[in-house]
Amino acid sequence: MASKIRTQEQATGWLLLLPAVLLLLLVFAYPIGRAFWLSLFTENLGTNLQPVFSGVSNYGRMAVDSRFWQSIWNTSLFTALALTLELVIGMAIALLLNQSFKGRGIVRTVAILPWALPTALIALTWAWIFNDQFGVWNDILLRLGIIQNPVNWLGEPTLALLATVAADVWKTTPFVSILLLAGLQAISEDLYEAHAIDGASPWQSFRRITLPLLLPQILIAMLFRFAQSFGIFDLVQVMTGGGPAGSTEMVSLYIYATVMRYLDFGYGAALVVVTFVILIIAVAIAALVINRLQKNSA
């Protein structure tokens, strides 16, 4: 009798889950599956935009495509630099905002502003800030006597990448600091008091209490930022368009060009699949680490 009720309840449960499962299949599984299927075909101007089955030849082509590997390298470098800076600066801002001082509410609101502004607009502004002839950044450096001649920020491969990182850090650090601030506020004051009574310095408290207890928030913030910055498009597209010498071309820019400008759908799909797999692996590793940390602390 009891088992009959149980099966019935389970059936109802599955039935209630069905809409959500269907929705997930429709918006996640189908597009991904379709991209994978498409990546096994050659469909471009050479085939009059008709799909012709070509097995894994798109993946073979990718292996020798220096532009693809350069874009992967650029994206990784961009992501690594941006994430490190955002974590350090975001942490500093979070610690500052966690202190009580007059006007903290206003400062917190202002601090989130860059994150709330539209990226394309920000990118345009930063492109002008870094302009070699008319840019305000060169003007400041010249006035301070740090440089003697205007620096060609967006026209030099290394500098251009750093300039896009700077713009991204400015834009998304607030996001990191807000997440960290939430974590900081959940840590009890008592812990610090007890630690201080034991004779610990503020630096020791930071290392022994704040960092370990904040680790889940740090990892979650990094996970979000990783996924976003690996897919960065608008900021770079507007600031440099991928140049000079392809030094700021990110994977998403390359995929966009392949599909929209070259009309090479099969190869574009293969690029999407490989980028997707790289992202999944990275996220899986992060999730594993978070899981282990939470088990350890529990």
Binding site: L45, G46, N48, L49, R61, V64, S66, R67, D132, Q133, P150, N152, L154, G155, E156, P157, G241, G242, G243, P244, A245, G246, S247, A257, M260, R261, Y262, L263, D264
Partner: protein
């Protein structure tokens, strides 16, 4: 009670009234005839005053405003066509993307395509355009500039009728050249010598300004240098790639040396047309490579160098000819349009001599018809147009291949690498040639 007053609103009331009225055969027959008559009558009336056919085309917002008076005269002469010029973004690559997505989704809302010359092979190869060869005779075609017509062809078929032309050229400062008694240079070496002698006497800060950013303008500029050095990019017939030939490497080396010798500021590696034009216009520079649009601006009322500027065909290597990169815009007809004949009447009108003349006099663009360069009214307004004809007639096409966008990106990337010192000219051009060959084989 009140409901009764509203009973007439209910269809059932109407229906029963009608049934009662048509109960006798005679009455029924009369009503039937009346109904049939009114249907026929209204159909006849609808046909006799048929609504104008709407023809849509997407154009950069800036240009829709400039075409306005031509549109008005067209619609006045063709009341049966309603020309709907949809405002698009001003950046041409975004307009290209919008056309591309509208065709990819099928059933494009645009009957006409306002096209840059470099889109033709791609759009034609994708099967989005209607062939136009049958609609123009050879005599009619001969009135246009050869480069503009050839740029509208793909594999022999004509897909685009040009309405305005474009070509790169050399701007020079007449006053600075007079100072040292130099004639306008024909060769790259002469240009370098004039620049350096003016720079060493502090008469000029910079010698030569050009477009070196990684973008389509870089390919356009380089096509001119390639022609001037006797090289080639891709042969459209044999599909041979010439980027690693000695002539092409020499052309890269010549451009690189303008930066190395400080004849050009190192910022040119990030310049587009406007950066070069602004710097040239502010004084201080002797030469600039640019398109015809810059003429009106550098000679504008607020320009410190107004009246001190000359133009001539691009410099080249001794023993070679100069080349101008063929640019320009024209109309194609979308294959999916339900009104090809009406669309063609728009194309015919906009490319006609009177419409082009009207457009040019108002907006200072370059005509695609040879005769207009020496038209008395146009010459009275723009005295340099006869010189411009010399420039445009030496125009060379960017390779008319379906994968042009990809080939251009490859070239831009490696040119940019060479100009920013990432790779030597030889290595950069060998890599560019290798990747272009791989592209053309795939």
């Amino acid at each position: 009670m009140i409901q009764r007053y509203f009973n007439w609103l209910r269809p059932t009331t109407w229906w029963s009234a009608a049934r009662r009225f048509t109960a006798t055969p005679l009455r029924f027959g009369a009503v039937a005839i009346a109904v049939c008559l009114s249907i026929v009558l209204s159909a006849v009336m609808a046909l006799s005053q048929s609504r104008p056919v709407q023809i849509s085309v997407l154009v950069q917002a800036l240009e829709t405003a400039q075409w306005q008076s031509v549109i008005e005269s067209f619609e006045a002469e063709n009341p049966d066509i309603d020309l709907n010029m949809v405002e698009g973004p001003n950046a041409t690559n975004l307009v290209e993307d919008l056309y591309t997505s509208s065709f990819l989704l099928g059933d494009s809302p645009y009957d006409l395509v306002y096209m840059d010359i470099v889109w033709v092979p791609k759009f034609a190869a994708a099967g989005w355009l209607m062939g136009l060869s049958d609609r123009l005779s050879d005599a009619e075609l001969a009135e246009f500039l050869d480069g503009d017509i050839n740029g509208g062809r793909y594999e022999g078929e004509l897909y685009r009728v040009p309405v305005r032309s474009d070509g790169g050229m050399l701007y020079y400062r007449t006053d600075l050249l007079e100072q040292i008694g130099a004639a306008p240079p024909d060769t790259v070496d002469e240009m370098m010598q004039i620049s350096q002698s003016l720079q060493s006497s502090d008469a000029a800060q910079w010698g030569y300004l050009w477009q070196g950013r990684q973008y389509e303008g870089l390919s356009a500029m380089f096509v001119e240098m390639l022609e001037g050095f006797g090289g080639f990019w891709v042969d459209p017939d044999t599909r041979e790639v010439g980027l690693d030939q000695p002539e092409a490497i020499a052309a890269v080396q010549a451009l690189l040396s303008t930066i190395e010798t400080d004849v050009s500021p190192n910022g040119v590696t990030n310049y587009q047309e406007e950066e070069a034009r602004r710097l040239f216009q502010s004084g201080g520079s002797v030469f600039m490579r640019n398109w015809p649009y810059a003429w009106a601006l550098v000679n504008g009322d607020d320009s410190p160098i107004a009246g001190k500027v000359g133009i001539k065909p691009m410099v080249h290597q001794a023993g070679q000819d100069s080349g101008a990169c063929q640019g320009g815009w024209g109309f194609g007809i979308s294959k999916s349009t339900p009104h090809p004949d009406e669309a063609w009447r728009v194309v015919e009108y906009f490319s006609s001599a009177p419409a082009q003349k009207q457009f040019i006099l108002e907006n200072a663009y370059v005509p695609s018809r040879r005769a207009l360069f020496n038209d008395p009214d146009i010459v009275a307004e723009f005295s340099h147009y006869p010189d411009l004809l010399d420039v445009i007639e030496s125009a060379v096409l960017r390779p008319p291949i379906a994968q042009y966008a990809q080939a251009s990106d490859i070239l831009q990337r490696f040119l940019s690498a060479a100009f920013t010192g990432q790779m030597s000219p030889e290595r950069a051009m060998q890599a560019a040639a290798r990747e272009t060959r791989r592209l053309l084989q795939s």
